[in-house]
């Protein structure tokens, strides 16, 4: 096999393979530019919005326990997570404790049955994200 021909074939092969592999390389499409829409599920990209979707109905958008969707006369009331976090949250308030709380629900932690378990609904990284967000909330000034 001659070197020249071999080189030619390699080039030919590249001409077939490269466009396929790099089909999207110099690709020419984009989204809506002027009209970027929110799409369903975008909120899962950000812990803040994930919190707002799943937790804020009871705990409020700022985590102050002032959501407006829970039943009136609930005892205990949804926790004020912001103040709790700002005060340090007590000796148990660490990542693992929060993770267990959120994923197994309040009943499993020996508390009321009012905060549902999220472990089968949200993947671990989303729950970890929510925990990160709780810590940010605690640090944020009003």
């Amino acid at each position: 096999m001659g070197i020249l021909k071999k080189a030619g074939d390699a080039k030919g092969l590249l001409r077939i393979v490269l466009p396929l592999v790099l089909a999207a390389g110099p690709s020419m499409v984009w989204g809506d530019g002027a009209q970027v829409h929110h799409q369903k599920g975008d909120f899962l990209l950000s812990p803040k919005l994930t919190f707002q979707h799943y937790c804020a109905p009871c705990h409020g958008t700022a985590g102050r326990g002032d959501g407006r969707y829970y039943v009136t006369g609930l005892i205990p009331k949804p926790a004020d997570l912001k103040s709790k976090g700002a005060e340090g949250g007590g000796p148990l308030w660490d990542d693992d404790y929060l993770f267990r709380w959120i994923s197994q629900g309040s009943a499993a932690m020996g508390k009321s049955n009012l905060c549902p378990p999220w472990g089968r609904t949200l993947p671990e990284r989303h729950i970890r994200g929510i925990i990160l967000h709780l810590k940010t909330l605690a640090r944020e000034k009003e």
Partner: protein, 973 residues
């Protein structure tokens, strides 16, 4: 990369006639033998569409082309989904690169050149080295056989191109002027980077987004990049795209000037695609800004950026905006700085995801040839992190995996803010965006070694790029340049000469020997294709079509309303100020600023006035045409009554579900700001005309057939009251401090003005978004068959799919109905459709559309028949009904799990979930059971958490909930 090679232009016939140099392969001999056996006498012409030729073409097609173009030639092969632009659909037979007039078919020659030379800037490769000329000619015939257009339309005239070679500065200047006059900048941008104001609104046939070419990247011009190729494109246009022909607007000489100007935009075409970023030493401080003159001294290299097709976070990404970045670097004793420039035609900072840049370096100098993985971070590398950014949980950008896996590369990361310091974690950066180009300067401490690695990743937020969806480069070397002694060059030169000499000798010896490589190549080509097919097939063919055509109001090629009768809708003053600058008028306007002068706007308005229909005026009681101050007391009282009635109609029809208005406190309320489903009505009182509004409310589709607005079936009194309310209530009034326009525009007339206006509308490509009488479409919309059947008719009339989604078609504003038949009970559907009731107290409710009993029954029949899910058990609890013992178990479970926190039952409960008091009347037991087992099984974003109920628990709860009905007292326990 394939696109970088200077594409062969039509002016190079030599590229296509090198057949003589090629060894005649056994295959070809066989083909010849076969062809002669079948009676094709003249192999190179003659009966070109003979059956033998078609059969041979088909064989080649099935071997080479099906993977992208599909077996039926519809451009839907298994690998097509990863390609942009998508492979040509031969059935439609719209070909871009032709020597024939706009809208007509290409010649055989055009097609064979496209096959032979490929399409630079697209995934279409040139096949000249693989296929023989004969095979290509056969393919052309086969490809033509996909469409009967070739038989029906015959051979069109071809363009003869007489090259004007002499390019002078004056010609280029004339071209530059024409570029402005022909309004090229509207799509291609002021500096040609494809960033013009209307570029984001462009659509292909089938409504796919179409991006105006970045004219500074001539290697991506699909028809070739010589002035001659550009002249041809200007003259013939690109079929099926917004790029029409300019033959009617410009003389031949003018087209040449424009072509030479466009060719000059790319500057030096030979961009340096290298693997080493050479950093130049500087004695003084390093430049901070990207426009610093000292950058001139640095050497630029072009780094190609490719799609991230490896990781699924959030998805494999095939279509990034950025395709290459130009990098320069400088260093001094302490620091090194990089200037990274890439083209990004959009820079709208209201985009939901920010544009971002990451420049990565491994911490230590490479000890071996192993390089870290260039997409995710490798733990063996430096652990400087972006965690602080992550903790700020900025909703605009966030790396979902940061919390789970700490980053371990030294990385510069920043969300880009034009004209200012960027947010970087540790190192300084400065970014600027202008005319479609980001230019970012990043400074960091000098790397430990002279030779380091760097890689780039770029995100374009307006292309929904975030997290793992981005354009990436592989690793590039960074070399700190030091002066090189001259003898190094001499040794290298000698070595090259020696090697070249040896190679030359070997090549001489080997020439002319038979070659198995070619055969091998053929095999490997099809094998590879097969491999791709296997890889991609599972993704193909997803999504079903609805059983009967349901019209999707959100899926229309023309985004804007028709302009034919616009003068009946709005007054001249409004139209003038809108055309002047739509965003000034309404910051959320989708309409781009067309940069028209006052005189040009006058011409456009004159044209629009000239095409409108004659319409008779509606009759209104005289007092309604007065302002409030002019009315007598009785008239004012009557008006007051009318306004009250109008307000009631407005709120009962739930108009604010979709439309925003001004609240009494002066804020914008209603409508979904993000979804932007409907027009903002907060200033509509000063915009629309009374007669138009009255007719619009009667049947919106008469004015705008593709509107998402439902027909509300108001009676005449209701319409009149609503018109008055909209035209007179403060909720629809513009703010008072708005300056009245200085001039008083009016609709002028005059043949020359009308002609000028028409030309301006044509050149500004208004017809892409608006239907305009007298201006032909550039792109023919794929017409869907009109809805057939009682329910599709109804769904079209009241626009169910503006809010609801059925099988992937429609809005996301209301619950998805794809499986509503398995979910809802017949009687409930019939009742609800006639008089919608509250389901989720704090959410939006469906408006009443005054459906008749028959219509409601038709709809429920359709829903129960077609919108079902076989995974939901049907007929559960039918017959016996809920069993008492299980109801009791279910009741205690309901208490135990704390369901009342979110759901109301009877008088007690929260408002997040639906009211369950009569849920047994509404939901099928099978659905309740499936939902309890996995609340996310239909909608993955349902808030209700999965409690992990056992089958017995779920069944008990199902019995309990099924027992909650009106008959049983509506959940009274």
């Amino acid at each position: 990369m394939n696109g970088i090679r200077g594409p062969a232009s039509l002016s190079e016939p030599g590229r296509f006639t090198r057949e003589g140099h090629k060894p005649v392969s056994p295959c070809l001999c066989l083909a010849f033998a076969l062809a002669s056996a079948l009676g094709v006498t003249d192999a190179w012409g003659g009966d070109s569409t003979s059956a033998a030729m078609l059969a041979a073409g088909k064989r080649t097609y099935q071997q080479r082309c099906v993977f992208c173009h599909g077996t039926d030639g519809r451009g839907d092969g298994p690998s097509a989904r990863a390609m942009m632009p998508s492979p040509r659909n031969f059935v439609v037979a719209e070909y871009k690169i032709r020597s024939t007039p706009f809208g007509s078919l290409p010649t055989d020659d055009d097609l064979s050149q496209a096959i032979a030379n490929g399409m630079p800037g697209t995934p279409m490769a040139g096949w000249e080295s693989v296929l023989s000329r004969r095979e290509i000619l056969e393919l052309v015939q086969y490809i033509k056989s996909f469409s009967n257009r070739f038989e029906l339309e015959g051979q069109p005239d071809t363009l003869t191109i007489e090259e004007r070679l002499a390019v002078t500065a004056a010609i280029r200047d004339e071209g530059e002027q024409l570029y402005r006059e022909m309004r090229c900048f509207l799509c291609h941008g002021k500096e040609g980077r494809g960033d013009g104001p209307i570029t984001a609104t462009l659509r292909y046939e089938w409504g796919l987004p179409f991006r105006a070419r970045n004219l500074t990247q001539s290697w991506t011009f699909i028809g070739g990049n010589s002035a001659r190729d550009i002249y041809r494109t200007l003259s013939t246009g690109l079929n099926g795209t917004p790029m029409g022909s300019y033959a009617d607007y410009l003389s031949e000489a003018e087209r040449w000037s424009l072509a030479h100007f466009v060719a000059s935009l790319s500057g030096d075409n030979a961009r340096a695609f290298e693997v080493v970023i050479r950093s130049r030493p500087l004695q003084a401080t390093l430049p901070e800004r990207s426009d610093d003159a000292r950058w001139e001294g640095a050497e630029a290299i072009e780094i190609p950026l490719g799609a991230q097709i490896v990781l699924g976070t959030p998805a494999r990404w095939w279509q990034p905006t950025a395709n290459s970045a130009r990098v320069k670097s400088l260093y001094n004793r302490q620091e090194i700085t990089f200037r990274i420039e890439w083209d990004d035609p959009t820079n709208r900072q209201d985009e939901i995801f920010r544009d971002q840049l990451v420049l990565k370096f491994p911490k230590a100098a490479a000890q071996s040839t192993d390089k870290p993985y260039f997409i995710t971070e490798d733990e063996t590398l430096e652990t400087d992190t972006a965690l602080e950014d992550a903790q700020s949980t900025d909703q605009r950008y966030f790396f979902t995996d940061v919390a789970a896996a700490p980053l371990s590369l030294w990385r510069w990361q920043g969300a880009l803010v034009p004209e200012g310091e960027t947010r970087a974690t540790k190192n300084r950066g400065r970014a600027a965006w202008s005319n479609g180009r980001w230019s970012v300067v990043i400074k960091r401490p000098l790397p430990a070694a002279d030779f380091s690695l760097a890689s780039l990743a770029v995100w374009d937020g307006s292309n929904r790029e975030r997290a793992g969806s981005m354009a990436v480069s592989s690793w590039y070397y960074v070399q700190l340049e030091t002066p090189v002694p001259a003898r190094v060059y001499i040794f290298v030169l000698l070595a090259i000469l020696a090697i070249a000499g040896v190679q030359w000798g070997v090549i001489r010896k080997m020439r002319g020997k038979p070659l198995f490589g070619r055969l091998l190549l053929r095999r490997s080509g099809s094998l590879l294709g097969l491999l791709f097919a296997l890889l991609l097939l599972p993704g193909a063919g997803r999504g079903e079509t609805p059983p009967e055509g349901l019209h999707n109001p959100h899926d229309r090629l023309k985004r804007g309303p028709p302009l034919t009768n616009i003068v009946h809708k709005v007054g001249p003053q409004w139209l003038f100020s809108w055309l002047k600058d739509p965003r000034q008028h309404d910051p959320r306007a989708k309409m781009p600023n067309l940069e028209l002068s006052a005189g040009e706007i006058e011409a456009v308005m004159a044209f629009l006035a000239s095409i409108a229909d004659q319409k008779s005026a509606e009759s209104w009681p005289a007092y309604l045409l007065k302002t409030g101050n002019e009315m007598t007391d009785e008239e004012y009282a009557a008006l007051d009554e009318l306004l009250a009635a109008g307000r009631q109609v407005w709120s009962r029809a739930r108009c604010t579900l979709c439309h925003a208005v001004t609240s009494p406190r002066g804020e914008l309320v209603g409508g979904d700001v993000d979804l932007r489903v409907a027009t903002d009505l907060s200033r509509v009182a000063g915009k629309v005309k009374r007669d138009w509004l009255y007719r619009w409310l009667e049947e919106p589709k008469n004015y705008f057939s593709a509107t998402a607005m439902p027909r509300y079936r108001f009676n005449e009194a209701q319409r009149r009251a609503l018109v008055e309310y909209i035209l007179r209530d403060e909720a629809f009034m513009p703010e008072e401090d708005e300056e009245p326009p200085v001039e008083e525009p009016a609709f002028s007339s005059g043949a020359t003005l009308v002609k000028k206006g028409k030309r301006l509308l044509e050149l500004s490509r208004c017809v892409l978004c608006h239907e305009i009488r007298g201006i032909p479409d550039l792109i023919t919309e794929k017409k869907e068959p009109p809805p057939q059947g009682a329910f599709p008719d109804l769904a079209f009339d009241i626009r169910c799919l503006s809010c609801h989604k059925i099988r992937g078609r429609g809005g996301e504003y209301a619950p998805e109905l794809t499986f509503a038949g398995s979910k809802l009970k017949v009687d409930w559907i019939v009742d609800f459709l006639q008089a919608p009731d509250m389901i989720r107290p704090l959410s939006q409710q469906m408006p009443e559309f005054k459906l008749t009993l028959d219509e409601a029954r038709n709809a429920s029949r359709y829903i129960k028949t077609w919108l079902t899910n076989p995974d939901i058990p049907s007929g559960l609890l039918e017959g016996d009904g809920p069993a008492e013992s299980l109801v009791a178990t279910g009741r205690s479970l309901y208490r135990q799990k704390g369901c009342r926190v979110c759901h109301t039952l009877g008088k007690d409960g929260g408002a997040l979930g639906p009211d369950l008091s009569e849920v047994g009347d509404r939901l099928e037991a099978g659905y309740i059971y499936s939902h309890l087992k996995n609340p996310q099984f239909i909608d993955p974003y349902t808030v209700e958490p999965n409690y992990g109920f056992s089958d017995a628990e779920a069944l008990a709860l199902t019995h309990f909930l099924a027992a909650q009905s009106k008959k049983n007292g509506g959940g009274k326990r």
